[in-house]
Amino acid sequence: MEYTPPPFFKRGPSLLARLSFFALLSLILLYADARFHYMEGVRKVFGVVLYPLQKIMDVPGDLVSGIGSFFVGQSYLKVENERLARQNFLNAGLLQTQQELIAENRHLRELLGMKERTGPGSTVAEILYFGRDPFSRKVIIDKGSSQKVEEGAAVVDDTGLVGQVSRAFPWTAEIALITDREQLVPVQVVRNGLRAAVFGTGYDGTLDLRFMPVNADIENGDVLVTSGIDGVYPAGLPVALVSNIERNAAYPFARITCTPAAGVNRHGQVMVLARLAPLPAYPTAAPQKKAKQRKSRRDG
């Protein structure tokens, strides 16, 4: 099976040697990326090279959608316009009360000596394409680190939390959706303030609420919002609705399935929120004190 030319033709190293070289190189890259995330710099270089090609391939899709929107009926536009006007009116009312709430909140926080919660600025971005890797749930957006999109920032749409920026290239960024298998969001039940963590399942439209005791006070239809204790997601963003609860006393935890609040598959636009102000460092002085105490006891 091995293809070997006669020895008097010089053709460099043998096929197997060449394969071993490139396979070994790939394995080293894989290990460095999966285990230590060393490859981000090289990845960025490839990302910059691929960016123009990506832009070229977006043209046919944009053309099709452009032609499609050109032939939209007038009646449809009229209905849509009416609906948006009504919604705008309702939102305006809500916004007016919200302005007051924001002012009141700031005042109360000042009185209590607490820090501001929201950082300045957020970026609206368009979804370029869905990640083609079948093992993860990711989307690519058209704003990157040159538009101040930072790694780790939260991403929302008009109905709820979409995910988190996992990698920022100069002009594009990768967003890990909350349905990704490796994503975890600390949440809170709106009805009773119960805190929990929502895990992605790797499938569209389902999330798991894990490690909740069988008798936990959770009902179908409960709204889960971000709890804000992680320092990554701002508090109060809608994350999911509880859709199914299985309480089996044979297991220590209940099986709770939720549906995400955000509709990533429905819209083309998302908003990247600015990163939160870093939380105060975790107190690490405790063990030192203990050692000192022990020392003083021994001295005394």
């Binding site: 394969l19 490139f22 894989l30 090289v42 070229i56 598959n265």
Partner: protein, 176 residues
């Protein structure tokens, strides 16, 4: 599909010599096709055009293509797909090995039997990606994960035809 009489020698027709620029152009077009922003069923059905093109050149012109283009294109696909860095590079390298090692054997067969070789090599390529991802803590996505290999093998006759069109001799050999 065998040419009359000399079927045991080779079924390949005699084509013009291949220029490296032509190989590079086909690879660039394949990369562009792989970068198409697709979703849903189209994405599941989409064959890996880069793999198919590399396989074509590996089998038909093993001297004009080596491991380096396959490896670099693999890295490019890893960045574009937002997957682990190096998984496609490894898979394409092994696929290139299969193509070059088998190129004499594959050329002996007709198109339908070539398709059987191609589907096995493409499935092996996807299997490597799957093993890498399972080792890195991924989950088996489902049987549909292997559909692109089957679609790719079904496109093999079209690929052969398409790639050989610019390499056909313009002059009629029977002309005096």
């Amino acid at each position: 599909m065998r040419s009359s009489g000399f079927g045991y020698l080779s079924t390949e027709e005699i084509l013009l010599p291949v220029k490296p620029a032509y190989v590079a152009l086909t690879l660039l077009i394949a990369l562009l096709l792989n970068l198409m922003p697709l979703t849903g069923w189209l994405l599941v059905l989409r064959p890996d055009f880069v793999a198919l093109t590399l396989l074509y050149w590996g089998i038909h012109q093993p001297r004009k293509i080596g491991f380096l283009p396959a490896w670099l294109l693999g890295l490019a696909m890893d960045v574009a797909d937002a997957s682990l860095f190096g998984q496609h590079a490894l898979a394409y390298s092994v696929m290139m090995f299969g193509a070059i090692a088998l190129h004499r054997r594959v050329a002996m067969f007709g198109v339908r039997h070539q398709m059987l070789h191609v589907v096995v090599i493409l499935l092996l390529m996807q299997l490597i990606v799957l093993v890498v991802r399972l080792a890195a803590g991924g989950e088996y996505p489902g049987w549909w994960y292997f559909i692109p290999s089957i679609v790719g093998a079904l496109l093999w006759p079209a690929t052969r035809l398409l790639f050989s069109i610019p390499l056909r001799s313009r002059r009629d050999p029977d002309e005096v």
